[in-house]
C-alpha cells in the first residue's frame, strides 16, 4: 500500500502540470484570433493572383512558361509546412504521415523525393527520417514575413527550371474550423491550365505585355507560388494555435481527472493508516 506522503507528492506534481497546461491553453486561445485575422487578411491577395493566373492560362500566349510544362515525373519536391513548437496534438504528425506514405509510394515508382522544410518540427522530423533537404526556414513567429520564405521558394523554383525537379507539392494543414484541421497535399508545379482553358480556345486573345512576356510571367508566377506558400504558412499558424488550444484543454481536463482519482486514493490510504493505528492501540490496551 502506498503511503500518504508519496500520494501527496504525486498530487502536487500533477497540479503544477495542470497549471502549465491551462496557461498554455489560454495563451493559444488569445493567439487564435490574431492568427486567424492574418490568415483571412492574406486571402484576397492569393485569390486575386489566382484569378489573374487563370486568365493568363486561358490566354493564348506566344510564350510558354516552364511551370506549365508537363514532364515525366522523375523527381518530386515536397514543401512541408510544419509548426515551430510542439504541444499541438497530432497536427504535425498527421501531415507528416501523409507525406511519408507518398514518399514510400514514390520510392516504389523510382521517383526521387526531396524536401523543402518550413518550421522547426518539420526540420527535425524529416532530418531524422533522412532525405534530400533543399532548403529550410524556421522560427517565422506568429507574424511571418513573406521575405523569410523567398529564399526557400527560389531554391525550389530554380531547381525546377534547371530540370532537377519535375513536380512540386505543397503540404500543409488547411484550417476548416477550430476543431478540425485538414492535412492537404496540393500540387504547385506543373500548374494546371484551369478548367475553362478548353472552352475559351475558340476566342483567341492575348495580353499586351509591358515590357515582355517572359519577364512578366516569370515574375508573376513566382509571386503566385510565393503567395500560395505564404498563405499556407499563415493558415498553418492558425491551425497550430487552434490545435494547441484543444490539446491543452484536453490535457488540463485529464490532469483534473487524475487529481480526483489520486485524492480518493490519498483519503483511502489515510483512513487505512488511522484504522490500523486505532486497532493497534485497542489491541495493546486489551493486552494490558
Amino acid at each position: 500500500m502506498a503511503n500518504t506522503k508519496e500520494v501527496r507528492k504525486q498530487i502536487s506534481s500533477i497540479k503544477s502540470t495542470r497549471k502549465i497546461t491551462s496557461a498554455l491553453e489560454m495563451v493559444a486561445a488569445s493567439k487564435i484570433k490574431k492568427t486567424q485575422d492574418l490568415m483571412f487578411g492574406g486571402r484576397p491577395y492569393s485569390e486575386k493572383v489566382k484569378e489573374v493566373i487563370e486568365h493568363i492560362a486561358s490566354s493564348s500566349s506566344e510564350y510558354s512558361h516552364p511551370f506549365y510544362e508537363e514532364r515525366k515525373n522523375k523527381s518530386t519536391c515536397y514543401i512541408v509546412v510544419g509548426s515551430d513548437k510542439g504541444l499541438c496534438g497530432g497536427l504535425n504528425i498527421n501531415l507528416f504521415k501523409k507525406i511519408v506514405a507518398e514518399a514510400a509510394e514514390n520510392q516504389k515508382n523510382d521517383v526521387e523525393t526531396s524536401f523543402a522544410l518550413i518550421g522547426v518540427k518539420a526540420v527535425t522530423f524529416f532530418g531524422n527520417l533522412g532525405g534530400k533537404v533543399l532548403g529550410q526556414a524556421t522560427k517565422l513567429g506568429d507574424k511571418p514575413n513573406p521575405e523569410d520564405l523567398i529564399g526557400l521558394t527560389k531554391i525550389v523554383l530554380d531547381e525546377q527550371k534547371k530540370g532537377n525537379i519535375d513536380r512540386v507539392v505543397l503540404c500543409s494543414n488547411k484550417f476548416v474550423n477550430t476543431m478540425t484541421q485538414q492535412p492537404t497535399l496540393q500540387q504547385l508545379i506543373p500548374l494546371s491550365h484551369g478548367e475553362n482553358a478548353e472552352s475559351q480556345t475558340s476566342m483567341q486573345w492575348d495580353y499586351i505585355y509591358e515590357p515582355e512576356a517572359k519577364v512578366l510571367l516569370d515574375g508573376l508566377l513566382t509571386r503566385y507560388i510565393e503567395s500560395l506558400i505564404f498563405q499556407a504558412v499563415l493558415e498553418n499558424n492558425a491551425c497550430e494555435q487552434a490545435a494547441k488550444m484543444i490539446a491543452m484543454k484536453n490535457a488540463t481536463e485529464n490532469a483534473g481527472d487524475l487529481i480526483k482519482e489520486l485524492e480518493l486514493l490519498y483519503n483511502n490510504v489515510r483512513q487505512a493508516a488511522i484504522t490500523q493505528e486505532l486497532s493497534e492501540i485497542v489491541g495493546g490496551a486489551a493486552a494490558v
Binding site: 492574418l38 487578411g41 492574406g42 484576397p44 491577395y45 486575386k48 493572383v49 484569378e51 489573374v52 486568365h55 493568363i56 490566354s59 513573406p146 486573345w205 492575348d206 495580353y207 499586351i208 505585355y209 509591358e210 515590357p211 519577364v215 512578366l216 515574375g219 508573376l220 509571386r223 503567395s227 505564404f230
Partner: protein, 137 residues
C-alpha cells in the same frame, strides 16, 4: 461600358474594391491611364501612386511595386505593399528617404547596393505621392 471593376490587394489585406471610370498607375514603362474597355494588358508596377477616379471623386493609393492586370471590364492591382495615400505620414516618408540616401552614401561593404537603391526609389515615390496630394488639397 462607362466603368469597370477595380480591386487593389496587397499581400496582407484588400485595399480597395469597387468601380471606377478611369485609373492611373505607374507602370514599369511609364505612367499608364486605363479607361473602360482597355485591351488586356499585363505589366509591372513601379513604386508610385495609383489613382482611382470615379466621376468627380478620386482616391489615391500608394503602391511600392507589384503587377497590374487589365481586362476590358476588370482591373486587378497586385501590390507588394499598398496603403491609402491619405494615411501616409510625410515625416515618415522623409525619414525613410533620408535613411535610404544614407545607406546608399555609405555603401561600403555591408549594405546591399541594389536594395538601398530600390528603397530610395520607393521612399522618393512615396514622398511624391504625398506632395501631389497636398497640392490638390
Amino acid at each position: 461600358m462607362s466603368e469597370f471593376k477595380v480591386s487593389i490587394v496587397s499581400s496582407n489585406e484588400e485595399i480597395f474594391s469597387g468601380t471606377a471610370d478611369m485609373l492611373y498607375a505607374t507602370g514599369s514603362l511609364g505612367e499608364i491611364g486605363i479607361a473602360p474597355g482597355h485591351s488586356p494588358l499585363l505589366t509591372g508596377l513601379m513604386p508610385g501612386p495609383v489613382r482611382v477616379c470615379n466621376e468627380d471623386k478620386e482616391e489615391t493609393f500608394f503602391c511600392s511595386g507589384g503587377f497590374i492586370e487589365v481586362q476590358p471590364d476588370v482591373v486587378t492591382v497586385l501590390s507588394d505593399v499598398a496603403e491609402r495615400a491619405d494615411s501616409m505620414d510625410e515625416a515618415k516618408a522623409i525619414a525613410a528617404k533620408e535613411q535610404a540616401e544614407k545607406d546608399l552614401a555609405d555603401n561600403k561593404d555591408n549594405v546591399d547596393f541594389a536594395k538601398a537603391a530600390s528603397q530610395l526609389a520607393e521612399a522618393a515615390a512615396r514622398l511624391k505621392t504625398i506632395q501631389k496630394l497636398r497640392k490638390k488639397i
